[in-house]
Each structure stands twice: as C-alpha cells, then as structure tokens.
C-alpha cells in the first residue's frame, strides 16, 4: 500500500468535498420540489430526464458512494480486528459500492433526454 492510500488525509478530503456537494444538491432538490407546479409520475420523469438534473443526480450518487466508502471503511477499521478479515470486508464493500454506482448510472442513462 502506498503512502497516499494509507494516510487519512485523502479520505478526509473526499469525505468533506462529497459532503459539501451533497449539501448543495439537497438544497437544490428541496427547492426544485417546493417550486414544482405538480407532483406525480409525469413531472417526476420530466425532472429527472432533464440533462442538468440528470447530471447533478449522477454526481450526487457518485459523491454519496465515495462518502459511504470513507464512512463504512472507518467503521470496518474500528470494529473488524483480524487483519485478513478486514481486507475481505473492505473488498466486499468496495465491490458493492461500485456495483451500486454502475446500476444507478445505467438507470440515469436510460431516461436522460439528449
């Protein structure tokens, strides 16, 4: 493992940057929802199909998964003691998060209106 992976600074930075992006997104999504003329399937589909919304949701999920990685990694490092078992858990966690990211990306791409 090289030094930049082992040091906590990069994880700390990822956690903070993703938090700030998600904070901004949540405010935007809240305002969008409040200002929407109607609710229901059609307005929802057109909102998510709009390229801008589609991209900011995609970036939100990207931030969320990185944020989840840092947080869940901290939990594993704090409570999972045997070193080998720890690596297995971290690898499993990383695979799950990557799979969820690809899944979400596929969903977003099926509806984006270009």
């Amino acid at each position: 493992m090289n030094e930049s992976v082992a040091s906590g600074l990069r994880a700390w930075t990822i956690q903070r940057l993703s938090a700030v992006y998600m904070l901004a997104f949540v405010l935007y999504a809240g305002i969008s929802y409040t200002m929407a003329d109607a609710t229901g399937f059609d307005p929802w589909l057109s909102w998510i199909s709009h390229p801008f919304n589609n991209i900011v949701v995609g970036l939100f999920i990207f931030s969320l998964l990185f944020h989840a990685w840092v947080g869940a990694r901290d939990i594993v490092l704090d409570y999972v003691k045997p070193h080998g078992f720890r690596l297995v858990k971290l690898a499993f966690l990383a695979l799950l998060l990557i799979a969820m990211g690809l899944w979400a990306l596929k969903i977003l791409l099926t509806v984006v209106a270009i």
């Binding site: 904070l23 929802w44 589909l45 998964l65 989840a68 869940a72 969820m100 899944w103 979400a104 969903i107």
Partner: protein
C-alpha cells in the same frame, strides 16, 4: 500510584456520563450506517419510480405499508441527524463554533433539529 489502580479498565458506556457532543458523534455514525444500508433499496425504488406510471404508483403503494412507514421514520431521523451533524462538523473544520459553549449549544441544536424533523415527517406520514 494507588490512584491509578482504581482507574476503570474499560469504558462502560452505560456507566459514564457522555457529553452532548458525544451523542451527536455516535448518532452520526449510527445514522451513517443506516443510510448506507438504505442505498440499494433507494436505488431500486428510484429505478421503479421512473420506469412507468404503474410502477411509480406501485412504489407509492409499497411505501404506504406500515412497515415501510416505520423504516421511513427511522431513515428520516438518520438523514436529518446526519445532515445537521455533518454541517456542524464542517463548520467546526473551518473553526466556526469551536468554543466549549458554542459546540455544546450546536450539539443540542443538532440533536433537537433531527428529532423535530423526525416528528414532523412522522406526522405527515401517519
């Protein structure tokens, strides 16, 4: 040296009095854990909600189930606690509210706001 022998050998969480900031911190970890567990279920609901009008309706119907409502209440607390506690930590990172008085006040505020949000959303759901 005699005094040292009386020190506890472990921290019994039920016997020590935790400062309010510790409650924020533990709540932040528990809520973060619950939110991570929720991610795949939310992605699935998201997928169904945009696939067709019928599926959209099915998601709403499923969320109307008492068990789903209970989970939504728990996730509302998780989200709001994580959200407010996260803002508090970010502010402390940039040296805002570091003093003992301010950090205690903001810790109470975070715990309180999360509970208020949870009560408001629970009221709307039930």
């Amino acid at each position: 040296m005699d005094k040292n022998k009386k020190r506890p050998k472990y921290l019994n969480l039920l016997k020590i009095k935790m400062p309010v900031a510790a409650v924020v911190s533990i709540g932040h970890r528990i809520s973060g854990f619950l939110l991570v567990i929720a991610i795949p279920f939310v992605i699935y609901a998201f997928q169904q909600s945009i696939s067709s009008a019928d599926d959209y309706q099915l998601v709403l119907t499923a969320l109307d189930h008492p068990l789903a409502k209970g989970i939504l209440v728990l996730l509302t607390w998780s989200f709001s606690h994580h959200f407010f506690a996260g803002i508090r930590f970010l502010l402390i990172d940039i040296d805002v509210g570091v003093s003992r008085l301010m950090s205690r006040a903001s810790a109470w505020l975070v715990n309180g706001l999360a509970i208020i949000c949870t009560i408001l959303v629970s009221g709307a759901l039930l």
